[in-house]
């Protein structure tokens, strides 16, 4: 099993619904977020191109955060989801510094927090909150090992990219382009 997410940059309008849904679903403290919207403007006026991406933890298959964690609090869970065990985390910040996507932050309660792909929902067969609420249905979530999953099908059909592949982290958040 290999959970992954694909975000269609052609469909994403940057409404931030995913951000709010995540904050509500996961009780993310005020002023923090586990996912965010990036707008990239490329080119010279009037030939401009806009790409909008909904970003979050890439649940990398070769995660520097798991590697550098001194206590084993950061770990791979079912389907390769990268999680933090709160009562094993000492809040040293090594994983935060190790993430090239800056996807982690120190939670006010002390431990390090990040996107969990809404594992508590995924375990029940539901989609992550951000995917569920997206008004343009631009996000696809599922198991890459299952050829019939939504995410496998869309990645077969469409061109895609990952962020900073040169960092060698094998990210599992795909952007359809």
């Amino acid at each position: 099993m290999r959970y992954a997410m694909a975000v269609d940059t052609k469909k994403c309008v940057g409404c931030s619904d995913c951000v709010v849904a995540c904050q509500t679903e996961n009780n993310v403290p005020i002023g923090y977020c586990r996912d965010w919207i990036v707008e990239v403007t490329d080119g010279t006026y009037p030939q401009l191109e806009l790409e909008i991406r909904s970003e979050r933890c890439n649940h990398c298959a070769n995660s520097p955060c798991v590697r550098c964690c001194p206590t084993g609090a950061s770990h791979y869970s079912d389907g390769g989801i990268v999680l933090v065990t709160h009562d094993m985390c000492i809040g040293c910040g090594a994983c935060i510094a190790s993430c090239p996507y800056d996807a982690r932050y120190p939670h006010p309660d002390g431990y390090v927090d990040k996107c969990t792909f809404c594992m508590h929902r995924v375990e029940k067969g539901q989609k992550p909150a951000c995917v569920e609420v997206c008004p343009t249905k631009c996000m696809y979530f599922g198991d890459l090992d299952d050829p019939n999953s939504e995410v496998s099908k869309v990645l077969k059909k469409r061109k895609f990219k990952t962020l900073i592949p040169e960092a060698g982290t094998k990210p599992q958040l795909y952007f359809l382009i």
């Binding site: 490329d42 520097p64 800056d102 932050y105 309660d109």
Partner: protein, 313 residues
């Protein structure tokens, strides 16, 4: 033009707008760890070379400071933790791929080792000292008999500790400035240099001071070579490392790095020591303080600048 904006308003504490997860605590801890490593290295080295009476201060006296340096360093590290009450979790697992885990366990060995080393000299230096309990006397006799073994363990662990202070940072490939294996030897040599400077400043034996002044000159030369290699490596590397080097070659860290670390912390004290070895009188604390200042600044600047260096996407 390529403009990238986070439009949903992300302002995660200590992460945005630029990463600042590590403040003054980590560089201070790295410095004190390196300093302790330097002191213990020379103590063990000159003991093993049979010069414990010739370089008494380096072998017998100054190691007594190291437990304090290490404890202050560990205190700073503790202050840096966000989930403080769980710090003991460091010692419920051994993670071979995590330099921080290596470091935690190394300190677990080095700190008691530095105390034990000093304890074996207490009665020699303070003849009136009384351990009170018989088993402590027996233990002391046993340790003194095995001082050679202790020295070998200490020299190995001093090198591991000194190198670890740099490897801790170089293991992060997400921060291009840190992601160079030169940081391990650079921080080790800088720690040795700070240790030698402490001995040079505080020793009352002129022969010992001259010796450590010469050692410091050599170490400064090695440090400068490593720094040049580091920038050569960056300049010949990928765009992100070229950008990382640019922070020091015209960017915001140019002045603090080249003035405080390289000039005031290396070139000036090297010149003063050279001048003194030529027979002129320079108070030993001037080059000593400068070297220690440079050593501290090196850690602060590398830790702060490293957090500002990142991949672009």
């Amino acid at each position: 033009m390529n403009e990238e904006l986070i439009v949903s308003g992300r302002m995660n504490y200590k992460v945005d707008p630029t990463l600042h997860i590590w403040g003054w605590e980590i560089p201070l801890y790295l410095f004190l760890g390196g300093l302790a490593a330097g002191i213990l290295f020379f103590a063990a080295l000159y003991y093993l070379r049979g010069k414990e009476n010739q370089y008494q201060f380096a072998v017998k006296w100054i190691p007594m400071y190291t437990p304090f340096f290490l404890i202050i360093g560990l205190g700073a590290l503790f202050l840096d933790l966000h989930h403080k009450l769980y710090f003991w979790r460091l010692y419920t697992s051994i993670k071979l791929q995590s330099p921080m885990s290596w470091g935690a366990w190394t300190l677990m060995v080095v700190t008691p080792l530095s105390m034990v080393w000093s304890a074996t000299y207490v009665r020699e230096l303070y003849p009136k000292w009384d351990w009170k309990l018989k088993w402590i006397f027996d233990l002391e006799t046993f340790l003194i008999k095995n001082r050679r073994t202790l020295a070998w363990i200490m020299i190995v662990y001093a090198v591991i500790l000194g190198t670890y202070t740099g490897i801790l940072l170089s293991a992060f490939n997400s921060r291009p400035l840190w992601n160079t294996s030169i940081l391990g030897p650079l921080f080790l040599v800088s720690g040795l240099s700070a240790g030698a400077a402490m001995i040079m400043m505080l020793s009352k034996n002129p022969a010992e001071r001259t010796k450590f002044s010469q050692i410091d000159l050599l170490l400064i030369a090695i440090e400068l070579t490593l720094i040049i290699h580091m920038f050569m490596g960056f300049r010949a590397s990928t765009q992100v490392q070229i950008d990382a080097a640019a922070m020091f070659l015209g960017g915001p860290y140019t002045l603090p790095f080249w003035v405080f670390v390289v000039f005031m912390g290396m070139i000036l004290p090297a010149f003063l020591e050279f001048w003194e070895l030529k027979g002129n009188h320079i108070p030993a604390y001037i080059p000593g303080v400068l070297i220690i200042f440079g050593s501290i600044m090196l850690r602060f600047i590398i830790v702060y600048a490293g957090q500002a260096s990142r991949y672009l996407y």
